[in-house]
Subunit: 421 residues, 2 copies
């Protein structure tokens, strides 16, 4: 038997409407799975105690959308909108990842920093390069975190050094990466067509078939920016909408994560709902690149699968604690300035999205309910000083608003300690 | 002669359009004033060197609007709009400051935390309580930071324990605090009518006269929230607008800071411009309380005096580095979702607002131009890792976006070292 009992001030979401909290509680982990949270030490389990009394304990957080190669230029060049920003900043940096030495060095910084934060899971874009994508997978595997990592596919509308020769060549390279990653237990490959503008119909159709045949997860971008949407209309005149293009090409199902979905119509919302695809809501990126704000409470009420994404480097911050407050703040301005029919997001809903909401893409992940994979983060919030005592839920709210003053002093994914935190 | 030369990677604003930067530069301070920034060590000055090579050096930052007694509940209760939030959270906490022991303890946490950040100057609201307001002044004076601190005036529409007996009693208490603060050199008193809803015409008129007679600075709130604006219309039927109410009562001139100004009409904008009053733009607070976003580039282009404010605890974060990115982000969503006639704020403009823009309220403050008071902050940005070298302006952008990962390792106000940083 391999397990332990983690003592602390524990909180977690089971639904968007409520945060459960147990002060001085005990979360039990056995063989990587959670046995539940107990008010007193579960002696009958005969598991060793990890005593984090006084510290906040939350489920490992889930970043449904992040670009690892963009981490080096986070915080820079944010005066542009999406398509210009891609051209001037993103593609220039991603071009460097053909150099495995550079890629390894840059990815190490990214994964090391991620290990220090509150996230334990991520859906990650690499670049089009095979070797550096495998290097990124390797870094994740060694970190102890759990991730889907995708080699990017692009066979049109990008600079020559990132352009794959043909749809077929792109598919073949993707298959090689999938084979190359077969030895990993914590990292899985993910099909990663960048987005419609850089992927031919043939490539998308091929990836859709591959996803279907091998049961592979797939991630892409959908309806982020108005100019992008217009472009897709011109590129796919046969589709009824951006969403419909992915749908008809076989790239929209319950194994899919679509980032953004800022400007989806009701028709598209229904299609996403029907498909079972996950929406990665990336509020900070959508602000930084002046894209807009997705109507996220509307999506939740319509039953869509929603989680949060950092979208580094459209967003600057990897921490899903930060994404929680970004999501709440963005929703307030959307409500105030744009559409009072969609109510703002509450902080407890944002916490759900950052844990169980995104975790559902990985299975039973993101909660301390019995049977869930044991992902847990211990937060030291003692630097957020107060002249009076705070309850756990208030401390959690402050951990979100002051995420950079709150240290993740240790964390586990699937019951295994993540190094570096 | 009392002075020193500070070596580092120095940057500062002289205008909103450009950030000056000197790598491995030397900023000279003599008797509290800046002699300028030099490319090489100014030997002729014969001043000792403070070597901060490799560190970023920026002017001390200026928070034009912060509520010290609200610091304890920062990050909490932000699901409400202004008027409900005042009733449920703010007034409840401010009531505690009748207890000098509690006030001293809470204010120590606030001032100690502020000393660790990049701000060197602030315009601060205390509460209605005389003794604790003087305690707050004392804490600022000892810290080495420079501040205007105001005892709040309220003679209507607030809970009984915060309600002053009459306009006259409120004015008398204010005069006592002014007298009590006469011994301070770094702290000045500031007249602080909370806002029209809690101040009778008589009280505002009396404070306007006092400001005129003694040349005192005055701070208040203006046009933050739509319900508040409607309320002011009912309370001051004789005024043409919220701004006009302050103007006619003698509370709007070049010694005035008005926080927010989110929903001002063109008429009000002209009045603010004519008066020479400063606008404290508080983007995060205006987001958190779902108030809206002030059209800040329009104000700047119209020649209004503008600086940034944290508005803790409507805003959560005291750092003006954070306020810079909040301001840029808020302006982008305002542009995208609400009004494309007002362009988004650029980061260099936000840096100007956070330094010289707000600093102008204090005189020649917020820049390293010769003759400016020497307020400087040394930032260690080594935790913001990168696989390639960055220029100073990119490092400054990242210091703003990752302000909590960037330590203010030392700082000076008027040439004097601030303890705690």
């Amino acid at each position: 038997m391999d397990g332990f009992v983690l003592k602390g001030d524990i909180c977690w979401s089971e639904s968007p409407n409520e945060i459960k909290a147990v002060a001085d509680g005990y979360a039990a982990c056995l063989d990587g799975a959670c046995l539940g949270v107990f008010q007193s030490y579960p002696e009958s389990l005969a598991l060793p105690l990890v005593d984090m009394s006084g510290k906040l304990v939350i489920p490992g957080m889930v970043d449904l959308h992040v670009h690892a190669p963009q981490y080096p230029f986070r915080g820079l060049g944010l005066d542009l909108e999406l398509l210009e920003w891609l051209g001037e900043h993103t593609f220039a940096e991603e071009g460097k990842y053909g150099d495995l030495e550079y890629a390894s060095r840059a990815y190490k910084i990214f994964v090391d920093d991620l290990a220090k934060g509150p996230n334990t899971r991520a859906c990650v874009f690499a670049t089009v390069h095979e070797a550096s994508t495998l290097a990124l997978m390797d870094a994740f595997e060694k970190s102890g975190m759990v991730a889907y990592v995708g080699k990017v596919n692009m066979d049109r509308n990008c600079p020559g050094n990132l352009l794959e020769e043909s749809a077929e060549a792109s598919l073949e390279a993707t298959k090689r990466v999938i084979e190359g990653s077969s030895g990993y237990s914590r990292v899985k490959p993910m099909l990663t067509p960048r987005f419609v503008p850089t992927c031919s119909d043939e490539l998308l159709r091929g990836l859709g078939e591959l996803s279907e045949r091998l049961g592979l997860a797939l991630q892409s971008h959908l309806s982020e920016n108005k100019s992008e949407i217009e472009w897709v209309k011109r590129l796919c005149p046969w589709s009824e909408s951006y969403t419909d293009a992915y749908w008809k090409l076989g790239c929209l199902n319950s194994r899919t994560v679509m980032a953004h979905c800022v400007w989806c119509t009701d028709f598209e919302m229904d299609l996403i709902s029907k498909s079972g695809a996950f929406v990665a809501h990336c509020p900070q990126s959508n602000i930084n690149l002046s894209s807009g704000v997705a109507p996220i409470t509307q999506y939740m009420e319509a039953g869509l699968n929603v989680g949060l994404g950092s979208d580094v480097a459209g967003g600057c911050h990897t921490s899903m604690l930060r994404a929680m407050t970004d999501a709440v703040q963005a929703s307030k301005l959307r409500w105030r300035l744009f559409d009072q029919s969609v109510r703002p997001l509450r902080l407890e809903e944002a916490f759900y999205l950052a844990t169980k909401g995104g975790g559902r893409f990985f299975g039973k992940v993101g909660s301390f309910e019995p049977g869930y994979e044991f992902d847990a983060v211990v937060l030291d919030d003692s630097e957020v000083k107060s002249p009076f005592p705070m309850n756990i839920l208030d401390r959690l709210a402050r951990a979100a608003y002051f995420c950079d003053s709150v240290s993740a002093i240790c964390k586990w994914a699937r019951g295994k300690r993540v190094a570096g935190a």
